[in-house]
Every structure is written in C-alpha cells, then in structure tokens.
C-alpha cells in the first residue's frame, strides 16, 4: 500500500535536548492511528515537524504519491497540501464569530487577491451551517467564539478542521475538557473521518484510545517504542515499564 505520509529517521534537538530521536512513522491514505506516550515523549513536537512549525535537524518527511518533501515547504503550503491540525489547547479566533471562524477555514483559494474578491455563495453559507450543526454549534453561528466554553471551542476547532477538508488530520488531545457524551461523539466522528482520510490522534486517555479501536504507536523519549493493536502494545514489557507502569492516569 502506498503511504500518505512517510517520516523517516527524523531527529530534533532543542538546546542540546533531543526531543525527537531518529523517529520513523508511516500512515496510509485512509487510516486511523493513535499515538500515546508519557508527557514529554515528543508527540506534539512530532506534529510540529509534520506541519512545518519545527524544522528537524535530520531525516525525511515525504508526502503523497509524488513523495513531496514537506521539509522544503512553509506551514501555509503544508496546510494547503492537505495537512490539517488541531492544537492541544483550543485555538480559535476569539474575537470573531463562529461563522467567521468556519468561513475562514472553509476550503477555498487562499491567496490575498482571491480572498479579497471572494464572496460567500449560498452553498458556502449552507456548508458552514452544516458544519456548525455537525459539531453541535448550530445555534451559535452568530456568537463570538470567545464566548464559548472550553469544550465548545474544541468542537469549533474540529469543525474548522473539517471545513479545511484535509487529507491528513493531526489531532492533539481532542477529548481534553470534554464530557463523556462529547467524548463518545468525538470518537464516532474520528472513526468516521478515517474512512476517507488519514487521522492521527494523540491521546492520554486509554479508554478513549480503546474506543478508537485502531493501530497504536507508542512514543517514548522521541522515538517509537512499540506499534500494533492496543492489546499488543499494552502487553509489551517495555511499554508497561515506561508508560503504563509509571504514569497510570
């Protein structure tokens, strides 16, 4: 099977500290993958590398059928190529309405001139309303997103991610601050999305990962410790030692 994203031999050092150490990671075009690992394992840094925020010292990050190198591209170019990202802390534009946030994320031309002369068609308004309903913000379209609760901001950010229609979604701790019902909704949404695109989920919560029912990659000290089904990795003595044994949550 051809891969959508191929990360190989990547290392990053912050002031002498190796946050990512010879990491390799592959994901196919329609696959759900969970990444787990103790605090400071390098999960967020891994996403930073793929999205172009952090440049690795060495290694390769290849994208798509044409094996394009993401390392030569800017954050915006990578996003336009089809990598969407949800941050650990919800980051939405608090000063703008839910509708404005979604409209900005909606897949469309991104250049300044194109955006200047762009005006929303009825289909765009409909799509925004549909997305808002999907993430439970259907009647909050006109509200400033700063007024939303933490969980609602998480949802709005997920909605913005969907609006971008990415080929690969990187989702950092989506369930943080959500109620049980919301978590279940998120699980269903992510599993659903992974039918048509690649989804990488970073999560601490084992129950959440179990419900995702997918291949799991365990990160530790910047490299892959184990990979396989959740049952497989949780039986791995090394994993038990570094992660499950010590930082049971």
């Amino acid at each position: 099977m051809t891969q959508l994203l191929e990360v190989s031999g990547v290392s990053v050092t912050f002031d002498g500290f190796r946050a990512i150490n010879n990491l390799s990671f592959n994901i196919g075009p329609a696959e759900l993958r969970a990444i787990i690992g103790p605090n400071g394992a390098g999960k967020t840094t891994f996403m930073d590398i793929v999205t172009g925020k952090t440049r690795p010292d060495e290694g390769k990050v290849l994208w798509g059928d044409r094996l394009q190198s993401l390392l030569a591209m800017s954050e915006a170019q990578i996003a336009r190529a089809g990598v969407g990202r949800k941050f650990q802390r919800p980051t939405v534009f608090e000063d703008q309405t839910v509708a404005d946030n979604l409209m900005m994320a909606l897949k469309a031309a991104r250049g300044p001139l194109a955006v200047l002369f762009w005006s929303p068609k009825p289909a765009d308004h409909a799509r925004v309303a549909e997305l808002a309903t999907e993430v439970g913000l259907g009647d909050a379209l006109g509200r400033k997103s700063g007024e939303l609760s933490h969980g609602q901001k998480q949802w709005l950010e997920i909605g913005m991610l969907l609006a971008q229609e990415p080929k690969l979604l990187l989702v950092d701790e989506p369930a943080a601050g959500m109620t049980l019902a919301e978590r279940e909704h998120t699980t269903r949404l992510l599993v659903d999305l992974a039918k048509t695109r690649a989804v990488v989920v970073v999560e601490h919560d084992m129950e959440f990962v179990r419900r995702l029912n997918c291949k799991v990659t365990v990160l530790h000290e910047g490299s892959v410790l184990a990979e396989g089904t959740l049952d497989h990795v949780t039986r791995n003595p090394q994993v038990i030692d570094v992660y499950l044994g010590r930082s049971e949550r």
Binding site: D95, M103, M104, G111, P112, L116, S119, P120, E147, L148
Partner: protein, 410 residues
C-alpha cells in the same frame, strides 16, 4: 444575503453623509462660493485635515486591523507629496522661464528652457542640471503614476524583506522608524536631487490656474480631499468587511494559527502594507499642494509616531475612530501650536500652550491607552449601549469562555 453593502455597514453610510454635509457646509461658508465666513487659510487647514484623516485610515487598516504597528507610514505620505511637488514646481518654473525668455530677440530653444528651469530650481543647492529623478517631472500623468509607484514599490521591497524574515512586533516598528529616518537623512543631502533641506516650495501655485484665486483653489482641493477620503473609506471598509478582513484580524490575534489554515501570513501582510502605503501616498499628494511646501523634516520619525497617536486616541480597529482621531488631534494641535490658545497664568508660572501642547498630547495618549483603550470612538459604543468586558487585560483562559457572557450581563 440580499441586503446591500451599505445597509450591512450603516457606519459607512453615516460617514459618507457626514463627510458630504461637512464639505457642503464648508463650501457655503467659504470666500469663493459662500458667505466668506471661513478664511482661505482655514479652508486649507480643513482640506489638509481631510488628507490626514485619509492617511489615518491607512494606519488603522495596517495597525488596528492587521496588527502591524508601522511607524513609517508618514514616509509614504511625504513621498507622495514629493512626487506631485516635482511636477508642480517644474511646470510652474517652466512657465516663468518661458515668459522670461520670450523677451529675448531669438525664440528660446528647448535646451535653453531646460537649462533655465534647472538653474531656477537647483540654484539654491548649487547645481544647474536637472537630476535624473526629474526625468518625468515635465509630465503630470507620469508624475501622478509615480505618486503611486514610488511609495508602492518602496513598501513592497521593504515589506518583502521585513515580513519574509518574520520580523514582528516592536522590531518591525523600529525597522519602519529606521526606514523613515534613513529616507529623511538621504533627502536632507543637497545631492539627493530633491533640493536637500530646502525641499520643494511654491506648491500652492497650480500651473495653468494662474488666473484663479487661492480662494477658489483652496475649495477645489477641499473637494478633492473629501472625495479621496470618501473613496478611501469605502475601499478600506470593503477590504475589512469580508473574508479578507477576517483573515487580517486573525493574523493580528494569532498569526501562527492562520498559517495552519493555509493562509500565507507574509503575503497578506505585504499586501496590506503596500496598499496602505499607496493610500498614504495619495493622501500626501493631495496634502502638500495645500500646504505649499514639503521638506525632508516631514519624514522625521516623529511624524509617523503622531500618526499612531491619532489613531490610538480616535480608537483603532474602527475606521471612523481613526478619522475622528486624526481630525480632532491635528486640528487641536494646530490651534494650540498656532498660538491661538490662551495661555494660562498660574501666578508663579504661565502655561504657554506652544510649549505645553506636546506634553498634554503625550499625557492624553497615556491616558487613553490606560483608561479608554477604545479611544474617542468608544463613545459611540457608550451611546449605543454596547458594553465590552473590562478584563484588565486578563486572558480568557480555557474554560473561562463563559466569562464574556457574565461580563455582558453586568
């Protein structure tokens, strides 16, 4: 979405109405077209104030909306003035030289006229040849093109260098100050080709309008300035109203996040920087013929800082705020510094406003920043009963989103 643009943006309509009313009122009070209640020099002041409002609009777009505190936009304003000033001076000198030479026995050759013009204009700096930058000064259309092109290109190149290396915040402000300072120092030199510290003068005499009195010309310029301000307002209001406006406000609030949405932040900044530089240049091209003179002191770094102060006092992030700030502060400033404000005698000390005005301005700036961050424009919110949270600068932390709701109910 069937509502028209103006009905969705009532403040634009209000602004245009007030501007037209103002222009009409001033016209009716002018010497040339009305009851001669306002002096010609005051009408010039009002016309120039409209130009300052236009450049404040540009400042609000780049600072209030896109969050880039440029402290160099008055350089573009002055460059626009220089570009139009070159034609004004050339064409007028040409007329004088031709009249002078017509007394000679032989008709003057083109070369003689050219030399005469060069000697007239550059005698003061000890040169007798037209510098290459005056190549197009004989032609109004070309020089008008340069009003847009020269500041536009400078902004494009400067912005490209600065934004590409992701210079932001205070560093960018300092860089823009350095730009305007460097330009001013360059223009101060006699061999800069723009008459050094003499600058360009006699710009109020419009070539071809010799028979028309300044009373009339001043009103015409007021109309032109009001027209430019109206158009500029429409343009900027349109730019900030749609998705483009959303994106630049998003860049102001969290530019890293905007990148992950796929927008090239640098491209947007460069676009806004260049667009606002061009608006500033057009404002300058209308301002200096009314001022009559331009010299390198107009590019002093402090001029651009004043511009930011006007916008801050008027209320940045709303267009009419910038206009109100520029009009209010610059008119007040000319009142205080013009020696018309009565001195205050405290017995032991006399407050002379010419000296104290700047201190008053500085204090109001600090006061506005601390106590009324929305500036004068905030009064409109007060009047409309809008309330914004008083969070004392504290962030809305995760989970505290509902804070805004509580605050609104207060």
């Amino acid at each position: 979405m069937t509502r028209t643009y103006l009905s969705r943006n009532p403040s634009v309509l209000w602004f245009l109405l007030i501007l037209s009313g103002f222009t009409l009122g001033v016209t009716l009070l002018s010497q040339a077209y009305g009851v001669a209640f306002l002096s010609t020099s005051f009408i010039k002041t009002l016309g120039m104030t409209l130009c300052l409002c236009l450049v404040a609009l540009a400042m609000d777009l780049i600072w209030g909306y896109a969050g880039i505190l440029s402290l160099g936009h008055m350089a573009f304003f002055a460059l626009g003035g220089y570009m139009i000033g070159m034609w004004l001076m050339y064409a007028r000198t040409e007329a004088i030289v031709i009249t002078a030479l017509s007394n000679e026995a032989l008709p003057a050759t083109a070369q003689e006229i050219q030399n005469g013009i060069a000697a007239q204009i550059f005698g003061v700096v000890g040169a007798s040849e037209l510098p290459p930058v005056w190549l197009f000064a004989h032609s109004l259309p070309l020089q008008l093109l340069l009003v847009v092109l020269v500041p536009g290109l400078l902004a494009l190149i400067f912005g490209w260098l600065a934004f590409r290396s992701r210079v932001t915040g205070v560093y960018l402000s300092i860089l823009t100050q350095a730009m305007t300072l460097a330009l001013a120092l360059y223009l101060f030199q006699n061999d800069s080709g723009l008459r050094g510290n003499n600058g360009l003068s006699g710009l109020q005499n419009i070539p071809g309008l010799d028979g028309v009195s300044q009373d009339r010309v001043s009103v015409w310029f007021l109309w032109a300035s009001a027209f430019a301000l109206g158009l500029g307002y429409l343009l900027v209001a349109w730019v900030v109203s749609g998705k483009f406006g959303s994106v630049i406000r998003a860049i102001r609030d969290d530019e890293a996040r905007v990148r992950f949405l796929g927008y090239s932040v640098e491209g947007y900044k460069l676009f806004v920087f260049t667009l606002t530089a061009i608006i500033a240049a057009i404002a300058g091209a209308l301002y200096y013929p009314q001022a009559g003179i331009i010299n390198p002191a107009e590019l002093a770094p402090i001029a651009s800082i004043y511009l930011a102060v006007w916008v801050a006092i008027g209320g940045r992030g709303r267009l009419y705020g910038a206009v109100i700030g520029a009009a209010f502060v610059s008119l007040l400033s000319s009142w205080f510094t013009g020696g018309r404000a009565p001195s205050i005698n405290l017995g032991f000390y006399t407050i002379n406003w010419v000296d104290w005005w700047l201190i008053l301005l500085g204090l109001s700036f600090v006061g506005v920043t601390l106590f009324a961050p929305k500036g004068i424009g905030g009064l409109v919110d007060l009047w409309q009963g809008l309330r914004t949270p008083d969070r004392k600068g504290a962030d809305l932390g995760p989970g505290d989103g509902s804070l805004l709701e509580k605050e609104a109910k207060k």
